[in-house]
């Protein structure tokens, strides 16, 4: 059977930002769907967004309300959302109350009532809210099964895309005929995690198309439900081929150590303990990009954008002007109950808005703290998804991470995330000649050769400045407590910098 012979299933926009991408393009037309979840999980709001996004006088929606929330109060509250357009009532969206019928009659009469209204209006969409209250009266399994079967068949035959809304518990998933008949099953959850509430959405079932599996976080704002896909809306994006372009820090000696700079699209980790200059290095990286016409994003968690820009100005770096010119965005993300997906959404929005090429995350520790406690457990996995998604669209990411300084170990990160990064620059304190000095070493560069030198540096009013040649007169530098070696002339051995330089 050729592709041409196959029936094409139209996809309707859900009206919920992010949800179409999760569903693989939208809601299949004429599908029979269930929105399930506990009270307050956002079921009605989601259904309203769908009907307000799709209903028109030519394609009207019938919204049956049954017991549960009073229709008048439902409309009173729902109209507070920005998507609610009163002008759509009643020509495009008609609310019909079935409570009396449900209370006084059997399921057969209820089906008859729905049938009568559907035949009268020929709606493109039908919502039953709440379906659960409709089938709560005692009846045999067979009677219920028959009712659901007939309702689903009837609504599909009348070319209606249907949502039944119900308050179901997850242990009811088994042996319930409604879930068997449904083409799509959407489960909304909200769970307390320490002092935060986390909302998650799962598409348990969706016939006819590929949805993004797993639990996706969502938030309810005055614009209604907003979903955040685990793939950050980039599931259809083909990863850009690796670039050979190098991005500089604007610190000549460091750029030399990196073989000319970090490769475009890399994820760079700058690790070091407090005060070693991680943020300074990150700021220089973003400022150098702007100097070369590469817009940048700085995601800060530990200080306000204004303070970040002011600190940069003490290093002679102007971050105010590029912000005004739309070349730089400093994002402050710290509401303490974020999901990685929401953070990513904010970052991606900013990246797309200004066409950013460089992104600084300062710092990973701050990022982790900004997340809802429940998401911190998955921080490493989330970082992996985030880095993969962003570098896939050609953004070069520099993340700073604080590591506990130890004189017996030389850790790269407390998160065991070094495998997620392409390049690692390690900064550390070292005790030399009665002074606490700073050294820098490039640990890893996935995209090519790099200097093996350990270099001393200082933080001046010009930012990070690398001093002299590599430190050859000490051994055990990375331990932090080096010993003076007998060799004292650094010119006796060729610098690794030079080797790298010769290769490029």
């Amino acid at each position: 059977m050729s592709t041409q012979d196959k029936v094409k299933i139209n996809k309707l926009p859900t009206g919920v930002p992010g949800l179409d991408e999760i569903m693989g393009g939208g809601l299949p037309e004429f599908s029979f769907n269930i929105i399930a979840g506990a009270p307050g999980s956002g079921k009605t709001t989601l259904a309203h967004q769908f009907v307000f996004a799709n209903a028109s006088p030519e394609r009207p929606a019938l919204y049956f309300t049954v017991l549960g929330e009073s229709a008048i109060k439902m409309l009173r509250y729902q109209q507070q959302y920005t998507f609610f357009d009163p002008a759509k009532l009643p020509d495009s969206i008609r609310f019909i109350n079935l409570s009396q019928l449900v209370l006084e009659k059997d399921l057969g009469a209820v089906l008859e009532g729905i049938t009568r209204e559907v035949e009268k209006v020929s709606p493109a969409m039908v919502i039953v809210d709440s379906f659960r209250t409709m089938v709560r009266k005692p009846q045999s399994d067979m009677e219920l099964q028959s009712f659901i079967q007939r309702l689903a068949l009837f609504l599909a035959s009348w070319q209606a895309t249907t949502f039944l809304i119900g308050e179901y518990a997850e242990d009811e998933l088994r042996d319930n005929p409604i879930f068997t008949v449904a083409d799509g099953l959407f489960w909304l959850r909200q769970t307390p995690e320490r002092n935060s509430i986390v909302r998650k959405l799962q598409i348990i079932k969706l016939r006819g198309q590929d949805s993004v599996p797993g639990l996706h976080t969502f938030r309810i704002t005055d614009a209604g439900v907003q979903a955040f896909s685990r793939t950050f809306g980039l599931s259809g994006h083909v990863k850009d081929p690796p670039s050979q372009r190098r991005l500089c820090f604007g610190i000549p000696e460091l750029d030399k150590m990196l073989g000319g700079g970090v490769r475009e699209g890399d994820s760079v980790l700058v690790a070091g303990s407090s005060g070693t200059g991680k943020s300074v290095l990150a700021t220089q990286f973003i400022a150098e990009g702007i100097r070369h016409g590469e817009p940048g994003i700085v995601a800060v968690f530990e200080e306000r954008p204004q303070a970040y820009a002011e600190r940069a100005s003490t290093l002679g770096l102007d971050l105010e002007t590029p912000q005004k010119d739309g070349k730089l965005t400093i994002l402050y993300l710290r509401p303490l109950d974020l999901s990685v997906d929401e953070t990513m959404h904010s970052i991606l929005d900013a990246v797309q808005k200004i066409g950013a090429k460089r992104l600084v995350i300062d710092s990973l520790a701050g990022f982790e703290m900004a997340l809802s406690p429940g998401f911190r457990a998955d921080f490493r996995e989330s970082l992996y998804r985030m880095i993969f998604a962003l570098t896939g669209i050609g953004v070069t990411i520099l993340s700073t991470v604080e590591v506990d300084e130890s004189f017996t170990e030389f850790p790269f990160s407390t998160y065991s995330i070094s495998f997620l990064t392409d390049d690692i620059i390690r900064l550390r304190y070292v005790s030399i000649d009665g002074q606490l000095r700073k050294i820098m070493v490039v640990i890893k560069m996935r995209g090519g050769n790099h200097a093996k030198d350990i270099r001393e540096y200082e933080i001046t009013d010009k930012g990070v400045v690398i001093l002299g040649k590599r430190l050859t007169e000490y051994q055990g530098l990375i331990s932090g407590i080096p010993v003076h070696s007998l060799r004292s002339d650094p010119t006796e051995e060729p610098s690794q910098d030079a080797e790298v330089e010769n290769k490029h």
Binding site: T65, S70, A71, I72, K73, L75, R76, Q79, P86, A87, L89, P90, R94, F95, I96, N97, L98, S99, Q100
Partner: protein, 146 residues
Amino acid sequence: MTATPGMRDLAHRLLAYEVGEGMSSEPVGSPTLCVYEKLRQCLGEFVGATGFQSLAIRALTLARSEAPSLSAARVTADGSLQGLGEIGTPFDVDKNQAGDGGAILIARLLGLLRLFLGEALTLSLLRTAWPGEVFEDRNSAHGRSA
């Protein structure tokens, strides 16, 4: 507290429309009952009979404080209105309406709708029962009270 001027104005417009309809076709009853029945039909569909009955009882209670002539009126279980008595007599659009119980009852019912649903949605619902010209050139119905 009395029904707001905006809601009274709207009630009078609906009643006047029904008077006009009554003159051009076979009279079907008092204008108050006609308006009330139309409201019961269009609102009952989406709030249900019980939902409409609750609103109507509340509106009647509020209206009685302004119009003692409504003391005999009552809302039945299905939401219909009974016992209007003299206020069910033909409506005089030119008369000062201060003492007209029917107009006050309708104004109170409309006021409750506006209070719960807002003006835009209330008018959208009313447009299913009355033609658009009834609502044209009408000043916005201000005021918070039902």
